[in-house]
Symmetry: C2
Subunit: 254 residues, 2 copies
Amino acid sequence: MKIVLLGSGNVATHLAKALKANGEDVLQIYSPNLVNARWLANQLSAEAVDDLSHINQDAELYIISVKDDAIAPVAASLAHVNGLVVHTSGTTDIQVLASHVKQAGVFYPLQTFSKAKDVSFLNIPLCIEATDQTQLSMLRQLAFKLSEKVYELDGQKRKILHLAAVFACNFPNHLYAMANEILQENDLDFDIIRPLIAETADKVMSNLPENVQTGPAIRNDETTMSKHLGMLESKPEMKHIYQTLSDSIKLTLK
Amino acid sequence: MKIVLLGSGNVATHLAKALKANGEDVLQIYSPNLVNARWLANQLSAEAVDDLSHINQDAELYIISVKDDAIAPVAASLAHVNGLVVHTSGTTDIQVLASHVKQAGVFYPLQTFSKAKDVSFLNIPLCIEATDQTQLSMLRQLAFKLSEKVYELDGQKRKILHLAAVFACNFPNHLYAMANEILQENDLDFDIIRPLIAETADKVMSNLPENVQTGPAIRNDETTMSKHLGMLESKPEMKHIYQTLSDSIKLTLK
C-alpha cells in the first residue's frame, strides 16, 4: 500500500519501520523539521518533506502521527486527497479529521514507544476506527498484517483505553523512577530491583492485579507503613504519594 | 543442610520449594495453624508442627518467615538452638533476632510472591546479613545455591530496598488494578492492556525509568490531562491519584 507518514516522533518511527518491514510502500515522511524527516526517511528509502504543500496526493493512506494539537492543522492540508487519512492518537476524536478530509480513520497502537528500544508490533494492540466501512476494512487488513491484536473501537472506548494506559504505564514507570531515586541516594543499584519489576508485570499476565496485590498496605501492616513514612520525612512529595496510594490500596481491603 | 522453616505463607512456601528443589533437607514446617503446616509439609516430605516446643533442636538453619510482628515471639522459642536463626523480612532489624537467639541472620528475598504463581529463585535477589562471619559465609553459600543474585546488605540498606520495592511493585500493581477497574466498567478486557504493562516493565530492564517516561504529564500535555481528569469526575479517589502522580511527573520536567 502507498503510504505517507506525517510525523517523525516515537510512534511515527516505530510504525514506519513496522510498515516497511511488512512490505508496505512508505512514500514520504513529513516533518516540519527537515533533519528529523530525513533521519527517518533515510532508514525507509522514503522521501523527506518539510512542506505540507509537497505531500504526495496519490497515496492510499495518510498516517498523521504528530502531537494531538497539531493533528487538525496537518489534516487541513490533506483536504483534497482521496486516500484515507488516519491519526494515531488515543484521545483525539475522529471528527477532528473528518471535518477536514474526505475519508477519516484512526490507527492507535496501544503501546509505549521510546526511540531507545525496539518493539515487535506483532503483540501490540491496534485500535482502529473509520467513518466508512470500505476504509475500515482496508485498515483492518493493514492492522492484521502488523499485529495479531486488532480492536475496532469507537472514540469513547479508545479514550477510556488511553486513560487506563496512563494508569497502567506512565504512572508505574514514574514509580519505578522514584524507586530508583531512593536506591541511588543510598548507593544501591537499580539492577537489584529489576527482577521485582519484571515479576510484578509478569504476574498480571495470567492474573488480575486485584487478586495478586502484595505489600504492607494490603496487609494493613501499619507498623511497616509508618516506618516507611518516617524514612520519607525529607521527601514530602514522595511521602504524599506513599500515603495516597497506600490509603487507596487499603480501601480495597475486604 | 538441615533446615526448619517457621511459617507457611507466600514467602515460606516459595522458599521451601526452592530449598527442597536444591536438595536441602527441610525437616519441619511450623505454623500455628496445623492445616497450613501440613499443607506445605506434605509437599516437602517434612514434618508439620503447630507447637513451638516441638521444634527440632538440631537443625543448622532456622528460617522464620512469618508476619513481622510475629518474628520476636517465634525467635524467643529458639533461644536454646545452636543453629543459625534468620528471618526473611525486609524491614525487621537483625537485633530483633539477636536479642533472643545465639546466632542471628537475615535472608530476605526481594520478590513479590503469590501462591497462584510459581517463580524461579535463580533470578531473585537474596539479601543476606549475619552477626557472625562464619554464619554469614554459610548463608552466602546457601544463597548462591538458590540464586545468581546475592547481596550482603546491612539492615539500613535492606530497609531502603524494601521501601523502594513498595514503589516498584506494590504501587504499580495497584495502578494496574485501577486500569482494570476503568476498563471493566466500560466493557473492555484487561487483555488489551497486558502488552503495554509487559513493555513498560521490559523497557526499564535496559534503561533507567527516568529516561523512558512517556505520557501526557511528561509532555506537559494539559489538554489531555484535563480530558482525563474530566473522565474521572465520578471517581474522586482515582482523580486525586491521577492529579498527584501527574504533578509529580511534571516536577521532573527539565
